[in-house]
């Protein structure tokens, strides 16, 4: 937190020499990392939010469906869908952690070293 003055800190946009951060930000390697990262997290967010919303709307407005008993037991379709929300949450969390460990961390680390060499 270096910017302690009341104005947006740092140099103006017209600086002749870009900062280490700007150099890295403009590099194709960073663009590739950002594209892969954001592609993954935005897609996953859309999936889990959409699926959660569908579940809430079904539980709210489709009682005829969620109240159906499954195969002579006391389990309902709603309960099953609810438990599937647990499963999908655990699954998405696991997939993301694996994806990030495998496909993001090394590239992020390399870019970090590039910035810190120039700072």
């Amino acid at each position: 937190m270096s910017a302690t003055d009341d104005s947006p800190g740092g140099s103006s946009a017209l600086d002749a020499t870009p900062s280490a951060y700007q150099e890295v930000q403009r590099s194709p390697e960073f663009a590739s990392l950002r594209r892969r990262w954001r592609g993954f997290i935005f897609t996953m967010s859309a999936i889990f939010l959409g699926w959660f919303l569908v579940y809430v709307l079904l539980s709210d407005f489709a009682h005829g469906l969620v109240d159906i008993r499954i195969g002579g037991t006391n389990f309902t379709v709603g309960l099953l869908l609810g438990l599937l929300q647990f499963v999908s949450t655990f699954t998405i969390a696991t997939i993301y952690v694996r994806f990030a460990n495998k496909n993001l961390d090394d590239d992020a680390e390399a870019l970090k070293r590039r910035v810190e060499e120039k700072l």
Binding site: P8, D67, N74, T76
Partner: protein, 533 residues
């Protein structure tokens, strides 16, 4: 409950043991909490798994344990829906917030929001939002303690006399919390949360296995028995929210606030700074998701177990929160009740400690150090101010808790989530992902989100016009029909952020700061790491 169950002496004894053990640990770990990094973030020295357990301890409040188990016992399926919202919300934190926040900030939400904006107005706004959310949440926890006390400790509240036995117990909880936060800082608070989370999960696991064992591990049998014993259709949807179109929309509104609010709760965000790297922050959330998810599966069994096993008529909407302790007494007698009671108190204590240190950090770091002292406070003063703030927050919590005791203020937790989802989350996401977002936009979404939530609550049936309203049925100015403002306030706050950004678009985008923030958020370059001592 008219009759006392269990043994108050045993309940107090087991809770006392928890207090003694945690105080000893706080004393042992608190030797050097004099730098800001140490006091606010425990020197970023916790591991991902440790922090994940502590996050669970911070998040699983009494409302989660007692409230959800009770809601399932009384309303069945509709109660289960809460727990799903509370769990799925963690994906928002994992995917969109945790790692980026860890890399950009050091101690508070204000660090991230103000990174590329004008420091003073944004830090002030972030602190206002943090203090309000923490205060709503804190008050709900303290008042919840009052109800628990009458059941578990046999201390009755005499109407009309504010200073009685219950007030004394609320004061004791408040004083203990202040001691943890003053002496232990974030390190001590984290250990309290870790111990509490372990006790809570083990306690819930024991009850779950016990209840399932009584039904020969046949969950379907347990569900059937819950319906039979209560005579209510607890497996069908809509017991609580299915009555009218308004109540259905109200539930949708609550669900949206829960799923988006968690990643905007300041006391949760602050926990991400207690680990050294973004990768550890990621592991924290991964651990938290598993622990919280498994815990909510336990509450499903405990809730239906209470419906199936407690004598018909024991539970009503007035004593929903007693379902889990009463079930513990029913199946395990005095000793299990004592253990569960102590865990419930430990839960309240750990959560209020986490809220207090968050409020103290936000005031001392954002307001005192950066707004008043413009970023250069005298050495050591910031932590002094933080400790004094914790003391003030403690006093406010005790007085507020005593005044709110017995009031119907469960809505405060929903309000805290709504404000977090409306004021904090849009501003965080815009700051991190939208280059043109500027100071005016951030001020619009923070203050706008706050104001809309609070106004909608004031003009809702929570405050007036209904049988459970604060002002009762006779006073009616409830022109907003929903109890939960999220469905209106969240989209409006996102919109206000855009409108403010266009109004303030003469402010040039700080290209250098934006580049620094973007590169830092994704790579950790320049981020503060662990501090060695």
């Amino acid at each position: 409950m008219n009759t006392q169950i269990g043994s108050p002496a045993l309940n107090i004894g087991i809770f006392g043991l928890f207090v003694v053990v945690t105080l000893l640990i706080v004393y042992r770990v608190s030797k050097a909490s004099n730098t800001a990094s140490d006091y606010y973030a425990a020197g970023s020295s916790f591991t991902g798994p440790q922090n994940g357990i502590a996050i669970s301890g911070d998040y699983l409040s009494a409302a989660s344990f007692l409230g959800i188990a009770g809601a399932i016992a009384v309303n069945g399926y509709d109660g289960f829906l809460y727990s799903i919202g509370f769990l799925v919300a963690w994906l928002t934190a994992l995917l969109l917030v945790a790692e980026l926040l860890r890399n950009v900030g050091r101690f508070t939400m204000g660090d991230v929001l103000s990174f590329r904006m004008r420091q003073r107005p944004i830090r002030a706004a972030a602190a206002v939002s943090t203090l309000l959310v923490s205060f709503f949440y804190l008050l709900a926890q303290m008042a919840g303690a009052g109800g628990l006390i009458s059941l578990l400790l046999g201390v009755k509240n005499t109407p009309g006399t504010p200073f009685d036995g219950q007030s004394l117990v609320i004061a004791v909880v408040g004083i203990l919390m202040v001691i943890y936060v003053l002496y232990g800082g974030m390190r001590g608070t984290t250990w309290v949360q870790i111990i509490k989370a372990a006790l809570l999960v083990v306690g819930a696991a024991v009850m779950t296995v016990w209840v399932l064992g009584l039904y020969g591990f046949n969950l379907s049998g347990l569900l059937g028995s819950a319906v039979e014993n209560t005579g209510k259709q607890l497996l069908d949807a809509g017991n609580q929210y299915g009555k009218t179109l308004t109540t259905k929309i109200d539930f949708l509104s609550l669900a949206i606030a829960l799923v988006l609010g968690t990643a905007g709760l300041p006391h949760i965000l602050m926990r991400f700074y207690t680990v050294p790297t973004a990768k550890e922050a990621r592991r924290s959330v991964q651990w938290a998701i598993w622990i919280i998810g498994i815990f909510y599966l336990f509450t499903l069994v405990i809730g239906y177990g209470a419906a199936a096993l407690l004598p018909r008529g024991t539970l009503s909407s007035a004593n929903v929160n007693d379902a889990a302790p009463l079930l513990a007494f029913q199946i395990g007698g005095t000793l299990l009740l004592g253990i569960i009671a102590a865990i419930a108190f430990a839960t309240i204590l750990a959560v209020v400690a986490g809220l207090t240190i968050t409020a103290a950090a936000s005031f001392a770091h954002d307001i005192y150090a950066n707004v008043i002292k413009e970023g250069s406070p005298e050495p050591g003063m910031e932590v002094k101010v933080a400790r004094r703030t914790a003391l003030v927050v403690g006093i406010v919590a005790i007085v507020g808790g005593i005044l709110a005791n017995g009031q119907n203020i469960a809505f405060l937790v929903a309000l805290a989530f709504a404000v977090a989802a409306s004021a904090n989350l849009p501003t965080l996401l815009y700051s991190l992902f939208w280059k043109r977002f500027n100071t005016t936009g951030a001020l619009f979404s923070i203050y706008g989100g706050l104001a809309i939530c609070i106004l909608l609550i004031i003009f809702s049936p929570v405050v007036s016009g209904g049988p459970t309203s604060i002002f009762g049925e006779s006073v009616d100015f409830a022109i907003f029909p929903l109890q939960n403002p999220g469905i209106v306030s969240i989209p409006l706050s996102f919109l206000l952020g855009v409108i403010g950004t266009y109004i303030g678009s003469r402010e040039p985008v700080n290209e250098a700061k934006f580049s620094e923030m973007e590169v830092r958020s994704m790579t950790g370059a320049g981020a503060s790491g662990a501090v060695d001592h």
